[in-house]
Symmetry: C2
Subunit: 338 residues, 2 copies
Amino acid sequence: MARPTIADIASRAGVSKGAVSFALNGRPGVSDATRERILKIAEQMSWRPHSAARALGASRVDSVGMVIARPARTLGVEPFFAHLLSGVQSGLSAESISLQLLIVEDTAAEIEVYRRWASEHRVDGVILVDLTVKDPRIDELKALELPAVVIGGRGGKGALASVWADDRDAMLAIVEYLAALGHRRIAHVAGTPNFQHTQRRIKAVRDAAPRLGLLDAPSLTTDFSDAEGAAITRKLLSQPDRPTAIVYDSDVMAVAGLGVAMEMGVAVPAELSIVAFDDSTLTQLMHPALTALSRDTFDFGRQAAEVLLDTIADPTQVINRRTPDPVLTVRESTAPPS
Amino acid sequence: MARPTIADIASRAGVSKGAVSFALNGRPGVSDATRERILKIAEQMSWRPHSAARALGASRVDSVGMVIARPARTLGVEPFFAHLLSGVQSGLSAESISLQLLIVEDTAAEIEVYRRWASEHRVDGVILVDLTVKDPRIDELKALELPAVVIGGRGGKGALASVWADDRDAMLAIVEYLAALGHRRIAHVAGTPNFQHTQRRIKAVRDAAPRLGLLDAPSLTTDFSDAEGAAITRKLLSQPDRPTAIVYDSDVMAVAGLGVAMEMGVAVPAELSIVAFDDSTLTQLMHPALTALSRDTFDFGRQAAEVLLDTIADPTQVINRRTPDPVLTVRESTAPPS
DNA sequence: TGGGTTTGATAAACCGGTATAGCTCCTGCA
DNA sequence: TGCAGGAGCTATACCGGTTTATCAAACCCA
């Protein structure tokens, strides 16, 4: 037989389709003996639910979606997403829920995808990344009534569920460490200005500067690409009063920055300390290896999946789960200024 | 109205469900006038097909799958997959087919996924990567009758459809270039030995060695990780007759190798030339920037998607599409030996 | 003018599950 | 003895599409 259906099981067990459905889904309505017998037959016939049929009757498709709106070019080198993805999947696989992944060019396209997914009933919920200030996706998702969880952005005013880490404290830890080493000219090469976490990090630097007696602590925004990271670094290092330490918002930009320092003959860490706000194999591959902020990205993803499933199960509750604070892993790229 | 169904459209247009279905799918059975009218109403009501319902009736789910069986750790830094993925999606989006992505630990798990997908009718076909010698997945997929396309591995004996580039010629081009520069001791840091493309590259090196008068041309296999790439490099450079050029099977390993050279005080390219068999932002970020083999990975993915859709449409044909040969992009990491 | 074919449409079955109303026993208790 | 109530199960409607059998009207040509 090609594909056994519950009707096949039913006739073989001499019961009705309904009874089989009850038995297979562990709900009351059949005796333990019958249930046992049905399960055994289903097992023997190696029955598996037909996802579409199930999705049609009940209204869940056992599938969640995630859209990443960044040009593939920027995305490629970022180990962040690969880890996040694995984590999300590990969180979903427990419930054998599948993940739809889509990489699109911009937020408009992303919203279009949500609309399509919602109208075609393709996903039960979505995971949002790269939250921006006044993010248009939030209202859209609420309008679509699509359960969602935001990664890395405190939900705020009871909006959407979220999983987040404290960017502010993390950035403070970095700046305080550099200040303690004796640095007074610290630059911050930030990411896209409209990302919420970029804003939070910039604010953290600005707030800490006077307290730590920093002479200068500019935050310069970029598009997260290695090219802009390099360009900004070149500019910074060409100034007469150049910074003695630079904090980069991503590992890729930090690596690009290190390259520029080498190219310009600026010794790291003797003349310039470098810190990456994201750890990965990349930072460890470099020479010198980069001091970086380590987060458990995999676990981050896993928790996002959990929260999303809870949200789907009960859309009325809004979970805001805080994850452990990231820690600074000190390697060879930081030292007291000469 | 929450979600218009074709029944809603039918009643509004004063026709039957069947007529609406015919009209919406562009099949004969309705007059042009009626079709026009129905389409307009569907548009007005912003109707979208319910994917599950469609999947239940017809037997396609408009979704294809791709499983990557590598530990997330190795995967992270590889820009290769991100580009491939974007390409695949761009190929699919034209037909608005969605992609299910799964990252698993090993091939056993991968096969398990295929079984589940097949039995639950979750995908119409799959894309295979990292083909190994005597790959167990091929027989499995044929048994499951799941349409599939293999990326980067000539299908061979009429097995599965494939999209591939000529690894052999590419490797020959690299080795010939190095030999022309004057190198006689060339080492090859290869990937996992059971991958088909690894085998082909190793064989290419071995075949070319005598012809080019190479004194030594060992191929050393690794697990593709930066750690093993570094370890092997350390070993190679510690030999009395150390190689004057090393070819790495991936950009990540090449970067790791460059790091080891720096660590050991071996000047690149003066004392050691380095070539990566895969180009990416990574190789360009380095100092010196790495000479690398550039492939249009995005296009590779796009073509794979196309071939898969063709295979799904007509499973009897077996397409083996060859993609343009990769070209060597020479940067700063190669020079004549001193 | 009449029989056969084509065109445009309908009604109903169907896909494989889930949900629910209802039926038949059996048990317990007054 | 009678009846309420629950356990265990069946029959059936339903989800939203696709597909097929059927049919009436129009059309064609000898």
